[in-house]
Subunit: 232 residues, 2 copies
Amino acid sequence: MNQKGKGNALGLKTIENSILFKDFDKESLLLIASQFIIEKWPAHTCSSCYQLRHKFHIIISGRLKVFKTDKRTGREFTLFLLRKNDFFDVITLIEDCSHKLYYESLEDVKMLSTPILIVRRWLIKYPMLNQRLLPYLGKQLLNIEEYAVNHTLLEIPARLASLILKNINQESKKLEFINDLSNEEIANLIGSTRAVVNRHFQEFKHEGILKLGRKNMEVINLTLLIKKATNQ
Amino acid sequence: MNQKGKGNALGLKTIENSILFKDFDKESLLLIASQFIIEKWPAHTCSSCYQLRHKFHIIISGRLKVFKTDKRTGREFTLFLLRKNDFFDVITLIEDCSHKLYYESLEDVKMLSTPILIVRRWLIKYPMLNQRLLPYLGKQLLNIEEYAVNHTLLEIPARLASLILKNINQESKKLEFINDLSNEEIANLIGSTRAVVNRHFQEFKHEGILKLGRKNMEVINLTLLIKKATNQ
DNA sequence: ATATTAGTGATACTTAAGTAGTTTTACTTC
DNA sequence: GAAGTAAAACTACTTAAGTATCACTAATAT
């Protein structure tokens, strides 16, 4: 699963493009990149926070689901879907607190990893890093906040529509990133269950809002979708 | 509502004790404190983010509710209950993004305030501040994350019990901080409605878990309360 | 070609939570 | 002490969402 990445071109490129290390001088970049190794998770690899506690990761490619489970009911809740250039876990990086999460690769995932202690040393050596972490953490906070507000104030059709809208590419106007997820994974993203999500998807289909396929969906009527999201 | 705070002893004391400025040298502390004014909000003062957009606040005393509303249903959702030494809004401080929130003082609230641009200048002048902000933001993230997980995976009795448990003082074993809130405000905290919260409070009372009074509650049976929170 | 599996579509049923409305209680103030 | 008010307590009703189950279909493996 692991692979030495010293001097690896892919690793260096990822580091250079990371919002964390962007604009660092060449020398530092090389030094930093040399501390990472490349880790490859085949599709559907599952890992608990305990196994990853002492490592910091930057995703190179593939999607990684960050989730919680309720053993009692077996229900799952996806907190984040991480992608290229995302990193984790920031919480355990900045403080030694327990952050009980699970991770699962939705497809083959490639990432860089390094001991968290090394990143903590960098935080001291390169104070700029603290400044770079803040906006990232802020965005995560806003994301979860939005989820909490939606889950509290909106019903499932509106939450479903919001999720889809959020993942429509501004230029192409096409649904991206979540268009190939199963009903089950969509349900985990809005905090519901497969059957309920499917029920509302059928409604959306009959209303001409979505075109549904097997692990594939497409937005047909954006105007109506927006109406759904805003409860009109 | 406002009051000059230059050289104010209360302001300086608050700044000294803030996790943001702790251990700064005396000279810097005086300089920083001199830039704040004291703001007093009478009980139940309500303010939108638009009115506060360009200011940064540190609470001296009193509780401040941070919430969202759904105009359609009139329902309210309390994201945070800020208290002494809390500050806001960190999101608009670190980035110029829209963070549409409302604020309301639950009782008379005293706070320090200063233009957000000044704090941004301090972030450059004192790089240490970035480092101090990180754990605070991390805690907020964990808070909202916990809310999201609870709201998604637990039913109202468990969420209610969790909320109470979270506010029990470790030493005194007494319920604090939220013990004097109305059913309505408790409902806003767990993302439900007054009637539903009251229904479950009655259950808790009959089961001998809580003692209920007018704007006052007390935990009688902690063991049972923990069972409720963990769905046993 | 057949078997297996994962994902989807659809039905019937259960239930927790939301909503509306009324009554009761406790506190305030005049 | 009476009147007024706000919170809490209670009742009846509605509904969205969850659950269980089965049928169907596409993809994959054997």
